[in-house]
């Protein structure tokens, strides 16, 4: 099962980014990962502009968004994605080190599809990411209402 669509990872902390990439490598999906270092870059990718002007068209399978990033923060990127009819269907996973109820509530209110508190320990982080990468099939084809339940 190969995910045809890329995975967009927006993460300004190089250590966290490296950990996520290592975990995805283990799942043999690291070649599909596009790494952006801030929110503005992520938006450039999504809208095919700036350095991503000439990229292949199409939405990523999933977007991992760090909550706190320079230039444009994660919540703002999330708001823009969910307000755009073309981007709205992309599943967005908020990756964050914030356990604050307010961030959680706001993320979901803005339409995040999952909110993952970055585990501090390496192996926990790996397994959290692995867990995400085990169901790319679901993410690649966001099922229309009902089709998911047919067997």
């Amino acid at each position: 099962m190969t995910a045809a669509k890329p995975i967009l990872l927006a993460e300004d902390n190089p250590r966290d980014a490296e950990l996520a990439l290592a975990a995805m490598e283990e799942q043999h999906i690291s070649d599909k990962v596009v790494l952006c270092h801030d929110g503005a870059e992520a938006l450039d990718y999504l809208y095919c502009r700036g350095q991503f002007k000439s990229r292949l068209k199409g939405n990523p399978a999933v977007v991992f968004l760090d909550l706190k990033m320079p230039k444009v923060n994660g919540l703002e990127v999330l708001r823009i994605i969910k307000a755009d009819t073309n981007l709205r269907t992309i599943p967005v996973v908020m990756l964050t080190s914030s356990r604050e109820e307010r961030d959680l509530a706001e993320s979901y209110a803005l339409g995040a599809n999952a909110y993952v508190v970055k585990p501090v320990e390496f192996h926990q982080f790996l397994s959290a990411v692995k867990e995400l990468s085990t169901f790319w099939g679901v993410i690649n084809e966001p099922p229309p209402e009902g089709s998911c339940s047919s067997n």
Partner: protein
């Protein structure tokens, strides 16, 4: 000191003996003396014991001081031995000290007697104190080790039971499905029924294991202990047979405890069965209840019991008793002295589990050839009786059409539950972990009525998942399923959530889901603060 000093005097001269006593009495030491002259009388007195101190003459007709000392060291090694004698060279005196004499007093200088005796008594007292302290320390260390061991075994058993519960859910569920599909006349029906019976037995065993590890859900109520016992009396009589005499000595007081009545019965039954098996040739079995004031923690416990009012339930037998090496293991699961196939080794460990779960502890006293006695201590309760819970709603249809998000990491369990739910008419989305459920759930949230989730899953737990989804959909009904009974309290206090213990039957599942979905919220105004579906987010819902 009011208790007189029990003195053994080895002295052939009554005048000297009286003088010694008078000196002691004058010095403020009251004595209960016993005077002996001969070797035989001395030995007899030593054997009889109850001596605090020996005062001996050194030179006696036909007997000498050194031999008297040797006899005393042998027969009463802890009793101080003081020579009170005339004529002795330094060398001999030192020799007696080497051989264990406490002191040597010359009859010519009786003035040293009183201080010597006083010092000896002080030392005696200190030594006894130290011994008591050491014994107490040893005892508490032993208890701590025992408690730690039981804790560890309990955790192991609990974890094991969890895995088996998952497996049993699959076995029992599928065989139930088969039975339903087969129709009454099917030739294979009896075989499947046998499978189910075996599964039931396995589930019962697991329940016992969980009880031991204090993970069995219990339903504690404030109740009177005595009726619980008198209610099972006839059953107990049948249980123990005719060779054993049963005596019930219930207290006149109304002893109230907070416990699960079924579990209390289990305690009594298990202890009675244990007592019965200890008396294969018959005997007497006594069940006793009383109130008790505890100032110490009983030997078998998990955490120390605060001192205070307790209720004691004792079961004693007149059987063969247990050697200490057996007694050390009686509450461990699978420990049994019964022959293979006769006992599971879970009876007493179940008792231990229930008692400690209820905040109590146990003492066991056993004497070889005389019998064994179990004392169960449970905290005494003075609160009022609780009212019986409201009655179940009437039978309703188990079918439904609502949409359920099913989250379970064990795929066999998930598929079983999914198929059952679909058969009942529900729409089911499934996910195998919390994160996947989040992604699936947030995309279908509009039509979703119920989250049915395992509690313990890698990564995001069921409770976390529920918390997340409730942020966007506050009226989402929650049903938690778990094989870990640690999770029993989950969802309590929230009327629109429920908990189901694995293994569960398809019927129990169907009924719980129906009950949850049919529940009309008390405050019917639906929360409109959140978007109804995530597909239509708008700018103004950033509240």
């Amino acid at each position: 000191m009011t208790t007189p000093l029990r003195l053994l005097q080895l002295e052939d001269n009554p005048i000297d003996a009286d003088l010694i006593l008078a000196t002691l009495t004058e010095g403020g030491i009251s004595c209960a003396p016993r005077r002996v002259e001969s070797r035989d009388a001395f030995v007899a007195a030593l054997k009889e014991g109850r001596i605090d101190m020996i005062l001996a003459d050194y030179s006696l007709p036909g007997f000498d001081g050194i031999r008297a000392l040797e006899l005393a060291r042998k027969l009463c090694p802890d009793v101080p031995f003081i020579f009170v004698s005339a004529t002795l060279g330094e060398e001999l005196a030192i020799d007696t000290m080497h051989r264990g004499a406490t002191d040597y007093i010359l009859k010519q200088r009786l003035g040293r007697l009183v201080p010597s005796v006083q010092r000896t008594l002080r030392e005696l007292h200190n030594r006894a104190e130290r011994k008591r302290a050491e014994e107490a320390l040893r005892q508490s260390e032993k208890q701590l080790r025992q408690a730690q061991k039981m804790e560890a075994v309990g955790r192991l058993a609990g974890g094991l039971a969890h895995d088996f519960n998952n497996l049993l859910t699959v076995i029992m569920g599928h065989s139930q499905v088969l039975l339903n599909d087969m129709g009454p006349g099917h030739p294979l029906r009896s075989k499947i029924e046998e499978m189910q019976k075996a599964g039931d037995r396995a589930a019962a065993l697991i329940r016992q294991l969980l009880t031991f590890s204090r993970k069995q859900p219990s339903d504690p109520k404030v109740l009177s202990l005595n009726p619980v016992i008198t209610n099972v009396e006839t059953m107990l009589r049948r249980l123990i047979g005719e060779d054993i005499e049963l005596a019930l000595r219930v207290s006149q007081e109304n002893l109230r405890v907070k416990a699960d009545p079924a579990q209390l019965e289990q305690i009594v039954m298990n202890l009675v069965v244990n007592a019965r098996d200890a008396m294969p040739k018959g005997g007497k079995l006594i069940i006793e209840t009383a109130s008790a004031n505890l100032g110490r923690t009983p030997v078998y416990h998990l955490s120390p019991l605060p001192p205070g009012a307790y209720v004691r339930l004792s079961v004693s037998d007149t059987g063969g008793g247990m050697p200490p090496e057996v007694q050390a293991h009686i509450f461990e699961p699978f420990f049994t002295t019964k022959e293979e196939g006769k006992g599971t080794g879970l009876g007493l460990s179940t008792v231990f589990g229930i008692v400690t779960q209820s905040g109590g502890g146990l003492d066991v006293t056993s004497t070889i050839g005389q019998g064994t006695r179990f004392d169960v201590y449970l905290p005494s309760v003075t609160a009022e009786f609780e009212k019986a819970a409201g009655q179940d709603s009437t039978q309703q249809s188990m079918r439904g059409h609502e949409t359920i998000l099913l989250v379970e990491d064990d795929s066999a369990v998930r598929e079983l539950v999914r198929d059952e739910l679909r058969k009942l008419g529900y729409r089911v989305f499934e996910a195998k972990n919390g994160l996947e459920a989040c992604l699936v759930g947030t995309q279908h949230l509009g039509g979703l009525q119920l989250l049915l989730t395992d509690v313990v899953m890698p990564g995001m737990s069921g409770t976390e998942l529920a918390q997340h989804l409730r942020v966007i959909k506050p009226d989402l009904k929650l049903l938690f399923i778990s094989g870990y009974t640690d999770d029993v309290g989950i969802g309590a206090g929230d009327p629109s959530s429920a908990y189901l213990q694995k293994p569960f039957t398809p019927e129990a599942l169907a009924k719980t889901i129906r009950d949850l979905l049919d529940l009309t919220p008390a405050n019917t105004t639906r929360a409109n603060r959140q978007p109804e579906t995530i597909q239509q987010p708008s700018q103004d819902n950033r509240s």
